[in-house]
């Protein structure tokens, strides 16, 4: 690292208690220890991204197995149970282990740079979020190896199928793995969101008012609020389910008085805000890219933010549209139908504003813009079918058919994934310092666009002629074969496109043939583009004083009074915190606690009674508590850097 020009000064002695065990690794930590103990938001973002891309490949393989099974009538690629496991794992993986962490990767890397901060408000908690996410991904995929294999309950785990009473395989642990992995993943998301909220509210550079924030940062804030308000519902729902399965309570057991319907309510109270959590980050990314590649400021900045906030807020009011066919009664059904229709309005406003941004601009069709345009068009298709669902009688026809599968893949792949890929092509130059191969990028887009539409457009038709979802095979004579085969071919094309894209992203930093990026290769608008590529360890050599929105653009093209200033460096220089082992220790403890809870039950072979042994769970819990205690007393430590003003 370029440390020659940076002076090193001995650490301040304002530490509280220094720990002899696992002292905080200092400035010159290298190698794997550097990555394990880092608290730097940029490294954490990279690790989120790499892990999420890995899970994208896994989830994609699961999808291709599903598509292979459906190639023709009555195929035997997968057994019934394996098929159920595939769509469960595909859904859970894609939602929780791919889209959410990819969004988290961008939030982590980009947001602090956009607000002029040196890091997030609670760097060690940020690291804890990352390791909890990794632990959650491992927990979910451990399920393959134990009794019953992976969960076969759908990514939404409807009761009463999740009751032990209905287990297909005696002692099926799949749902238990599912429950606990979602709990850890929930913890990871919650911690990260609290961090982002505090950072955005409290750590903006001087002059960076809320209305000068980039749209991406606003979306980070709104999504974080959605997460902290939606995840508690599923946390409790999962706790209740765990109690039902393990301790015999009656929350969802209808034979004992429980209401499976309650699970649906609680899950979708989480689940609906969750889908906005999945799409808003991509909308934020697209809101950054369109102005840059149209060379025009974003049209209706205030309206876009307000619409995003309204979508988030109203997202809490529409959850029962996933339950239209469950017999809730006329009043409830109508209310949710109307609210669902209303929520299309702010979404439409955003789309008009993006179009308004492009109107009259000088548009460049580089890869990030191609994906952004793909987002807008594909998301619109998904949005149209979504509005169709909001009509209750029409939804009664769509429910559980492939029409719904088409809808949500249009919004999740055509929307979220395209938006995130746009973000990769846009921001990887900043992250890696290299420009990605533009021709290859366009090729990836072409493959993905064609493959995606070939796969999912026919599903609208298939759904309307009657192919049901989540069904292992179909008989001859329905006329499903042709379009299923086209969809499967499209899926493989999409898979190849994604694989090449992932290859591009992962090798960006190492590929010697790529050209260097420079500070602002796209002539982009927001604050992160004033920094060098890759971004230095300390982000900003001097804290910027912000004078306008789109600060980088104003610095290059705007009048002098809009140019940003810099705060002078005081005697302390830039204080950099040391790294820390304790987030990793705490995450390992939590992981141990979860494994302990998963395996604490056994049956006495003589009496048939359940034996509960909490030793490993308690051990994990103790490690986590020790981790937290040591974390709170290890003290800030740190070192100081004195970069020159030009070394940003």
């Amino acid at each position: 690292m370029a440390t020659e020009s940076i002076k090193y000064v001995t650490p301040d002695s304002d530490t509280k208690i220094e720990t002899k065990a696992f002292p905080r690794p200092g400035q010159h930590t290298k190698g794997i220890v550097n990555w394990l103990t880092t608290i730097d938001h940029k490294k954490i973002g990279i690790m989120y991204g790499v892990a999420a891309l890995f899970f994208l490949i896994i989830g994609g393989i699961e999808a291709l197995l599903i598509r292979s099974q459906l190639w023709d009538h009555n195929m035997d690629v997968l057994t019934n149970r394996q098929y159920n496991q595939m769509f469960t794992m595909h859904g859970t993986t894609m939602v929780f282990l791919v889209i959410m962490p990819l969004s988290a990767a961008f939030f982590n890397f980009i947001m602090p740079l956009q607000i002029g901060a040196r890091d997030v408000a609670f760097p060690r908690m940020n690291t804890l979020s990352l390791w909890c996410f990794i632990a959650g991904g491992i927990t979910l995929n451990l399920s393959w190896f134990f009794t019953g294999g992976s969960p076969a309950i759908g990514w939404f785990g409807y009761a009463p199928l999740t009751d032990t009473r209905f287990a297909e395989v005696l002692g099926d642990m799949g749902p238990d793995f599912w429950i606990f992995s979602l709990q850890i993943l929930g913890l990871a998301s919650l911690l990260a969101s609290f961090n982002f909220i505090t950072t955005i509210i409290n750590m903006r550079a001087p002059g960076m008012t809320m209305m000068r924030l980039p749209v991406f940062t606003w979306m980070t804030l709104i999504v974080s609020f959605l997460i902290i308000l939606a995840f508690p519902a599923i946390t409790i729902a999962l706790v209740e389910l765990m109690f039902d399965r393990t301790y015999g309570t009656n929350f969802y057991d209808f034979l004992e008085g429980g209401k499976p319907h309650l699970w649906q309510h609680l899950f979708w109270i989480f689940g609906h805000p969750e889908v906005y959590i999945l799409i808003l980050p991509a909308m934020g990314i697209v809101s950054e890219i369109i102005p840059v590649f149209s060379r025009k400021p974003l049209f209706g900045y205030g309206l876009i933010i307000f619409s995003g906030a309204i979508i988030g807020f109203m997202g809490f009011a529409v959850w029962s549209h996933h339950m239209f066919t469950t017999g809730m009664g006329i009043v409830a059904t109508s209310a949710f139908s109307i609210l669902t229709m209303l929520i299309a309005i702010p979404t439409g406003i955003k789309i008009f504003n993006w179009i308004g941004t492009m109107w009259g601009g000088r548009i460049r069709f580089e890869t990030p813009m191609l994906f952004a345009l793909g987002f807008i068009t594909m998301f619109m298709v998904g949005g149209f079918t979504g509005i169709m669902h909001s009509s209750v009688p029409i939804d009664a026809q769509h429910q559980d058919s492939y029409f719904v599968v088409a809808h949500f893949h249009y919004v999740l792949i055509g929307g979220a994934l395209f938006g995130l890929f746009a973000g990769f092509y846009f921001w990887l130059p900043k992250l890696s310092g290299k420009m990605l191969n533009e021709k290859l990028g366009k090729f990836v887009f072409t493959l993905m666009f064609i493959g995606f539409n070939l796969t999912f457009f026919p599903m609208h038709y298939l759904g309307m002629i009657g192919q049901p979802r989540r069904t292992h095979s179909y008989n001859e004579g329905h006329g499903f074969e042709t379009w299923n085969q086209i969809a499967t071919i499209g899926a493989f094309i999409l898979g190849v496109g994604i694989a090449i894209g992932v290859y591009q992203f992962v090798t960006a930093a190492f590929n010697k043939k790529l050209k260097p990026a420079g500070k602002n290769p796209w002539d982009a608008r927001t604050l992160e583009w004033t920094l060098s590529s890759p971004v230095k360890e300390y982000n900003f050599a001097r804290t910027p004083i912000i004078k306008s929105r789109d600060q980088a653009w104003e610095n290059n093209y705007g009048p002098k009074e809009n140019h940003s200033d810099k705060e002078p460096l005081d005697d302390h220089g830039v204080h950099m915190p040391d790294r820390s082992w304790y987030p990793l220790v705490t995450a390992l403890g939590i992981f141990g606690l979860v494994l302990g809870m998963l395996f604490h039950q056994s049956v006495d072979l003589n009496t048939g009674e359940i034996i509960r042994d909490y030793t490993y769970a308690i051990a994990g819990g103790v490690v986590a508590i020790i981790g937290i205690i040591m974390w709170s007393i290890e003290g800030p430590a740190g070192y100081h850097l004195f970069p020159k003003e030009s070394e940003e």
Partner: protein
């Protein structure tokens, strides 16, 4: 003016965009989120409180197992602990370490008494002769009241226990000689958590216990 500017002599003002400490913003956001937690549990309880698979309607009278004297006592205990907590925060803002220690100690003792009452109540209910209330049954009949009651009050009790551990940590720290008004903000955040646990009980007590005597 931020609250901390009044203590400019003792510790630096938080250099944040809003003038509020990061940890305080974090704690308030967390408490907002915790409302959803307890909202889920309380509403689940309200839906299920009368429901039994084998006996319909209002036939199973939970008042036979409830002990309102005990629960009222623990309610007053928790309220008292809240007062001690507020005074502890006040004391550390003033820099009065001895008072802080005593107030923290009082909070811990009362919190521990509350927990002891809860534990006693749970074991009492599970084994009440003729009126056993378990996780899945009441008087031997499958009933959902036990499920929701124990999980809800158990979650609340877990929150209290975490608070007690946190306070014990502060109490221990106060004896190391390193505690000062610089820690006032952190103690205040602990106080916010403790008060929140108290207001959740303020909701739970009427809605879970007293309501059974009305309907």
């Amino acid at each position: 003016m931020s609250e901390a500017s009044a203590h400019a002599l003792d510790h630096h003002e938080p250099v944040t965009s809003t003038g509020i400490h990061n940890k305080k913003v974090l704690m308030w956001a967390f408490l907002g989120s915790d409302c959803m937690f307890f909202g889920t549990l309380i509403s689940t309880h309200l839906i299920y409180r009368k429901i039994s698979a084998t006996v319909g309607g209002n036939f199973l009278d939970i008042r036979d197992v409830f002990d309102i004297e005990l629960t009222s006592f623990s309610t007053f205990i928790l309220l008292a602990s809240s007062l001690f907590m507020a005074l502890a925060v006040s004391a550390i803002h003033k820099g009065n370490l001895t008072s802080t220690r005593w107030m923290l100690f009082g909070t811990i003792i009362f919190g521990a008494i509350f927990l002891a009452c809860q534990v006693y109540e749970f074991t009492h209910f599970v084994h009440a002769p003729g009126n056993e209330l378990t996780l899945s049954s009441y008087r031997g009949e499958p009933h959902v009241f036990g499920s929701t009651f124990y999980v809800l009050t158990g979650t609340h009790g877990t929150h209290v226990a975490i608070g007690v551990f946190w306070l014990l940590g502060w109490l221990a720290y106060s004896f190391t000689g390193k505690m000062s008004t610089a820690d006032a903000m952190d103690v205040e955040c602990c106080g916010l958590y403790w008060h929140f646990v108290d207001i959740v009980w303020i909701i739970i007590f009427p809605v879970i216990y007293l309501m059974e005597y009305a309907f």
